[in-house]
């Protein structure tokens, strides 16, 4: 296996970590829609200690892409310019909101920041769905690896279905996270029903996404991808069963697996390409024409193999420290 393949796998790992961990953070944020303030406080408290560390998975995925596949980083980020701008605005408001919402007890102040968290979670979930779909569907990339299309080209029906699918999947995943983090029995019961409904909607969106992607892309061209996506759909169903039977652990573990299989399946379909050119297949970016030199790839492989396990250890420890369920009394203004 050459270094380029190893780095493709590492990028897959980083994006998987990002979608699994930030997935439930975004989901919890979206679950705040329509809930009263004291419940929103409990939701925020549930992800409070960990969201910042989770977000670094995205930053690392971006930085690692820059280091290992600089042309992908350059083409992807300049292509999705407006989308990333909107995503950044959302992430800025969301990040500050976690810190500032508790600084005053005034209801309007808390509401304002809670809406920042809600939209700041919804917008990135949607845009990542759109962006990821476009990587595979193809965008107008010329032989110099420059995007020559328009912003609106990125909003094809297929990509929008991908966006909605991501929103529902993350919301479902977030609801399942709350099932293992909330202590209040009454609230838990409501969340359980909500999770089940979201799970069934996710399933529907999954089928629509698969159909749209099968029509627009070559996502089903490899048998291995079909298997991964099949496993992912099975995991969504298992997760729904978990939510139905009131077993939060099963629901959350299964939706985690659903995201893992989806991400792996997606990158498997993309391999060895990184970004498809809709103009000419041979203008696509792949793990060879977009890569750094073997010297840099080797160096970064060493760094990743040393540091990623260390990160996993202390992040795992953090989850252990904060494993207790959140009670309504935990929500204090600090």
């Amino acid at each position: 296996m050459d270094l380029n393949v190893i780095w493709f796998i590492l990028i897959t790992v980083l994006f998987t970590g990002f979608f699994v961990l930030e997935g439930f953070d975004y989901g919890v944020g979206m679950m705040m829609f329509g809930r009263p303030q004291n419940e929103r406080g409990q939701f925020v408290r549930a992800i409070g200690p960990v969201w910042d560390g989770n977000e670094v998975w995205m930053i690392t995925a971006g930085g690692a892409t820059f280091a290992a596949f600089p042309h992908m980083y350059a083409t992807m980020f300049s292509t999705f310019y407006i989308a990333l701008f909107l995503m950044l605005l959302a992430l800025i408001m969301r990040g500050v909101a976690f810190e500032l919402r508790g600084k005053f007890k005034a209801s309007d102040w808390v509401d304002f920041w809670d809406y920042s968290i809600m939209f700041g979670s919804f917008v990135p979930a949607l845009l990542w769905g759109v962006a990821v779909t476009n990587l595979l569907r193809g965008v107008a990339i010329d032989p110099q690896m420059h995007f020559v299309g328009k912003f609106l080209d990125l909003l094809s029906p297929c990509a929008l279905v991908g966006g909605i699918f991501f929103v529902l999947l993350f919301a479902f995943h977030g609801a399942n996270f709350l099932l293992i983090k909330i202590a209040d029995k009454g609230l838990l019961h409501e969340l359980q029903q909500k999770s089940l409904r979201l799970g069934l909607s996710t399933l529907l969106a999954y089928v629509m996404f698969a159909a749209a992607a099968a029509h627009d892309t070559d996502i089903l061209a490899k048998l291995s991808t079909v298997i991964f996506l099949g496993l992912s759909i099975a995991a969504v169903i298992a997760s729904c069963a978990g939510a139905h039977s009131g077993c939060g652990c099963k629901a959350f573990a299964s939706s985690t697996l659903a995201i893992v299989f989806l991400t792996v399946g997606f990158f498997n379909a993309l391999f060895p390409r990184l970004m498809v050119s809709s103009l000419m297949p041979q203008w696509s970016l792949d793990i060879y024409n977009a890569a750094s030199t073997p010297h840099t790839l080797l160096l970064m492989t060493g760094a990743a193999l040393v540091f990623v396990p260390i990160v996993l250890c202390y992040q795992f420890w953090t989850y252990k420290v904060f494993k207790a369920r959140v009670t309504p009394q935990d929500v204090s203004y600090h």
């Binding site: 200690p49 960990v50 910042d52 560390g53 670094v56 930053i59 690392t60 971006g62 930085g63 690692a64 892409t65 820059f66 280091a67 290992a68 596949f69 600089p70 042309h71 980083y73 350059a74 083409t75 980020f77 300049s78 292509t79 310019y81 407006i82 990333l84 701008f85 950044l88 605005l89 992430l91 800025i92 408001m93 990040g95 500050v96 976690f98 810190e99 500032l100 600084k103 005053f104 690896m145 420059h146 995007f147 912003f151 750094s292 030199t293 010297h295 840099t296 160096l299 970064m300 760094a303 990743a304 540091f307 990623v308 990160v311 202390y314 992040q315 953090t318 420290v321 904060f322 600090h334």
Partner: protein, 456 residues
Amino acid sequence: MDALILSRLQFAITTIYHFLFVPVTLGLSIFVALLETWYVNSGSYEERIKLKKLVKFFGTIFLINFAMGVVTGIVQEFHFGMNWSEYARFMGDIFGAPLALEALTAFFIESTFIGLWIFGWDKLSEKVHCLCIWIVAFGSNLSAFWILVANSFMQHPVGYAIENGRAVMTDFVELVTNPYVVGEYSHAFFAGITTGGFLVIVVSAWKIATDDVSREMFVRTLRRATLYTLVGLLGVMGSGHMHAQYLAQANPMKLASFEALWETENPAPFAVVADINQEAGRNDSEILIPKMFSFMVHNSFDGEVKGINDLQREAVEKYGSGYYIPNDVRGMFWSFRAMIGSGGLMLLIVLATGCLVFFQRTKIREHLCCLKMMPLLLPLPFIANSVGWYIAEAGRQPWIVVGLQKTAVAVSPNLSANEVWLTLIGFTAIYLFLAVLAVFAAVMFIRRTKITEEEA
């Protein structure tokens, strides 16, 4: 205005804004860690309650600042791909590595341990909790190191080769041990200590003047903060001087532009003020201290210092025809003076405050008026930090990577001016809006929080 100049403006605005918060994070994280160490090792019950409140007090200010720094930092990482795709292609093999290492080795630990610190007061033992803030401080300062490794390459490329039209890394150790990093990192580190310390001075002074019940504790933080800031200021001056001497060899064009020295001279005078005429390549009038610039560079009153016009001729010989002089010598000249002036003023203030809290402690009540005015001085470190980065980056122009790539060819070719206008206005607007809210939240918090012996 085209996408290039707008992208430059956007990068300048967002970086300077980001760097309002970064030095506070660098310096205040260490100060809070020191405070918590003091708390953990303190004796009596009443003292412990007050010290814990004090740690949480400065911790909360730190956290508001930290959140602003984190969210504005993501923008900076995305910028290299969004607006500077050709730079990312040309430099990715070199620049991506420190950026990815920054995320892997520094962002992860600071972001994970900050969560543990905020929510772990009752879940971790005191010592482990204290260790968490030390780890956050370490992570923050390590992340500054990696980003300055990346920046130093842009200022002074080492350990590279040019292959197939792009820069590739040949020696990682050389990249990390770039002598430019030493000057840049030590200067930024001590600037962080200074900024964090000065913030504590200002907040403590204001609390002493306005909050009778908490006064005693803030006198104690004021004493510590003056020492802390003094260390920072001496460090920042020493490292700045060292780095300027190093610039005489590494990037003489930048140094000559700081001082608006147009012609090579031996000995070279120092211009206190100058009316700079960039078009004509000279100063129309100036007030000079003879031999002083030579002394600053060579530690001796003789010695040649190269001037801008000669360096331009050398650059033309080396790189072909073109204009290699930073296009804002006037701005750099005055920014440099603003930086030195702010630093000098801070030193006087810190010394005066130190005299008050160490030698005139009983008379502190007679000076409450003065202490109450201290917040007016808070902009000083932030001005110094901002203009400091301005001269560092404006002095690199017209290059984005000195000698290797020009800024003009680094911009993303697919961007229209309208798109960049949109994002420029968007970022600026949201940044201004958040600055108001964050400062408001911080000021109200400082105003209402009391450090007393009562249990919280």
